[in-house]
């Protein structure tokens, strides 16, 4: 009886540490990343970053290179014509 209880205790403690050092660790890392990144302050931080990038882009002579501009133009024209054809 005595040895059985001691062994049970040791097994419970071992399982706890095994879980915490494997699956628990992965879950914790995910939670830590999720809760520390996606809060109001971080959203604000990302928004500010996008605003700053747009502002600095507007200051440049060109935002896109010629090839990209042609590609996007063609893409919009295609999308536009497909929408019109629906009518």
């Amino acid at each position: 009886m005595r040895i059985f209880i001691y062994k049970t205790l040791v097994i419970i403690v071992a399982i706890f540490f095994l879980y915490q050092l494997t699956i628990g660790y992965t879950i914790h890392s995910f939670q830590k990343k999720l809760y520390s990144s996606f809060d109001k302050e971080s959203a604000e931080k990302i928004k500010n970053k996008i605003r700053e990038e747009i502002k600095s882009g507007l200051k440049k002579d060109r935002i896109l290179n010629v090839e990209d501009a042609i590609l996007i133009k063609k893409f919009f024209e295609k999308v536009n014509s497909e929408i019109k054809n629906l009518e």
């Binding site: 001691y6 040791v10 706890f16 628990g24 999720l34 520390s36 302050e41 604000e44």
Partner: protein, 551 residues
């Protein structure tokens, strides 16, 4: 004269010296970030307790004070929700404040600091007795006592941290009576253990582990035939019964609990604020901190000498426990158990206490902020294990190193610690050891208890000639409460404009932010302000004051 013969004399000298120093400096500390909330809780409970009485005038006084706190500090956490704090310390202090009609905020906060210090002072006597009880050696007990008191963060907090240091103090006293109970199960030891365990539990719920672990040890004794079933059941019942009775008698939180809603009893204890704090250069949600949070904080803010011996002692204890576990066989003998003597049983109690809480903090997503102050109670286990290592070291190497040498080495470390206390005063609570340099400290929150605000306001009051001083705060911790440590005349001068820096003549910051200040404009100091104070301790910045430039 030998050291042995004079140990008692040193003991008295030490305590008188410590008491005099404490009484001399208790007025130097700023108001801690939680003190206003705790004071409010004290009045909340006093109001509640006196609602059952007929002292109408006194009830009116208490209620007026409580309403005053509610109106002057509307942002404080709700006492109705956090009604599990404040019975042991805050309620009696609220009573004293009302009974003696203390009107000055400076006086009542200083009184809190004084009482907090005196409670810690008493608990340090009990810590000395714990070491005496375990090691039967006054010299080691005195060394342990000096480290228990002079560890800088604990020393500083023993004046203004009315929650965590109070819990450390009550836990220390409860452990002393637990040791006495292990030595001899009698009603006086049982009564005092249950009383202080109940006080510790109502201060911080973690105190509930004391009777649980004690009963677990009784169970292990029963398994080893050191106790029979009858005595195991009767002793356990007495512990549980007295503990619950004492807890119920002094803890109004229990009075309103519904026995059928057991699962809700502990719910409110695990509430946490949705906050982010700076740790090791990054901001984390306080509930999902890196697992290295508590070990890192202990490593960078505990004296290195204590750390080294503590780690050594910890591994010796783990090794002993491990070997004893491996050797256990079905046959019953004195050495065939987790412990072979009462002293070893006490060591195991301390080891399990430390290890369980340490693992709990690391693995179970415990919300922590303000360094590791929520786990300052581990200090009693750390110093106990530190002394265990020192004694082990002495017993195993006494041919090479004499007791005198051990005393001198420790005396040198203690003197260096006292020097650190002097150097950091009154910011001992913000101590960092030499494992961390000035550059690295910036990756951590320094003045998280917001102790510097009173000093900063005092400086501004002296610097300004105006009758009204408009002051802004570009840190997350509240500034306006800091005025309560000023004299009435200075208090009236301040107008707090929050983060509206354009309205301010002065700006204060202690560099505690809720998010990375690089991306947050509200923490930015405008260019028309110049830095007039950069207050540093040990080369790291605690707070700064900026003043509007004169055009």
């Amino acid at each position: 004269m030998s050291l042995e013969k004079n140990s008692k004399l040193y003991f008295y000298f030490f305590f008188i010296f410590y008491l005099i120093v404490g009484l001399w400096i208790y007025q130097d500390f700023g108001v801690g970030i939680e003190e206003h909330f705790q004071r409010k809780n004290g009045f909340y409970w006093l109001n509640y307790i006196f609602s059952f009485s007929d002292f109408e005038n006194f009830k009116l006084l208490i209620n007026t004070k409580y309403q005053e706190i509610l109106s002057s500090n509307p942002d404080l956490p709700d006492s109705v929700f956090f009604n599990f704090y404040g019975v042991v310390f805050d309620l009696p202090l609220a009573f004293i404040e009302t009974f003696f009609e203390i009107k000055s905020s400076k006086v009542y906060f200083e009184l809190r600091h004084l009482i907090n210090f005196l409670i810690f002072f008493v608990s340090s006597i009990f810590f000395y007795k714990i070491l005496q009880n375990r090691y039967f050696d006054q010299k080691f007990a005195l060394i342990g006592l000096a480290f228990f008191i002079f560890t800088p963060r604990i020393f500083g907090d023993s004046f203004h941290n009315n929650k965590d240091i109070l819990f450390l103090s009550l836990l220390t006293i409860a452990i002393y009576y637990l040791f006495k109970l292990i030595d001899k199960f009698n009603y006086s030891n049982l009564f005092l253990f249950c009383l202080f365990a109940a006080f510790a539990t109502s201060t911080r719920i973690m105190g509930i582990y004391l009777p649980i672990l004690l009963i677990s040890f009784y169970f292990l004794e029963y398994l080893s035939n050191k106790k029979n079933l009858k005595s195991f059941l009767s002793d356990s019942f007495k512990v549980v019964f007295l503990f619950i009775i004492f807890l119920y008698l002094h803890y109004p939180y229990m009075w309103n609990l519904n026995i059928l809603e057991f699962k809700n009893w502990f719910e409110s204890f695990f509430y946490y604020m949705d906050l982010r704090i700076l740790f090791n250069g990054d901001y984390y949600n306080i509930k999902y901190l890196p697992r290295s949070y508590l070990p890192t904080w202990i490593f960078i803010s505990t004296p290195i000498y204590v750390l080294i011996l503590f780690i050594f002692g910890f591994f010796i204890l783990i090794r002993r426990f491990f070997l004893r576990t491996l050797r256990i066989k079905n046959n019953l003998s004195l050495t065939n158990d987790f412990w072979s003597s009462k002293s070893e049983m006490k060591d195991l109690f301390i080891l399990i206490s430390f290890f369980s809480f340490f693992c709990y903090a690391i693995f179970l997503n415990v919300a922590m902020l303000s360094g590791w102050r929520h786990f300052y109670f581990l200090h009693v286990f750390i110093i106990y294990i530190f002394i265990f290592a020192l004694k082990y070291f002495y017993l195993n190497f006494r041919n090479k190193i004499s007791m005198k040498k051990i005393i001198y080495i420790n005396l040198i470390v203690i003197i260096s610690l006292v020097y650190e206390l002097y150097k950091y005063h009154p910011y001992q609570s913000l101590y960092f050891n030499n494992l961390i340099n000035e550059k690295y400290v910036k990756k951590f929150q320094v003045d998280s208890p917001s102790l510097s605000r009173s000093d900063a306001l005092r400086f501004v009051a002296q610097d300004s000639q105006s009758k009204k001083i408009y002051i802004a705060n570009t840190s997350w911790t509240p500034l306006h409460n800091g005025k309560d440590m000023l004299i009435e005349e200075d208090k009236k001068k301040f107008v707090f404009v929050g983060q509206e820096v354009e309205l301010a003549e002065y700006i204060y910051t202690n560099n505690i932010y809720k998010s990375d200040e690089k991306f947050n404009k509200r923490y930015k100091i405008p260019s028309n302000f110049e830095k007039i104070v950069e207050y540093k301790k040990d080369n790291f910045e605690i707070y700064s004051i900026f003043k509007k430039k004169i055009n």
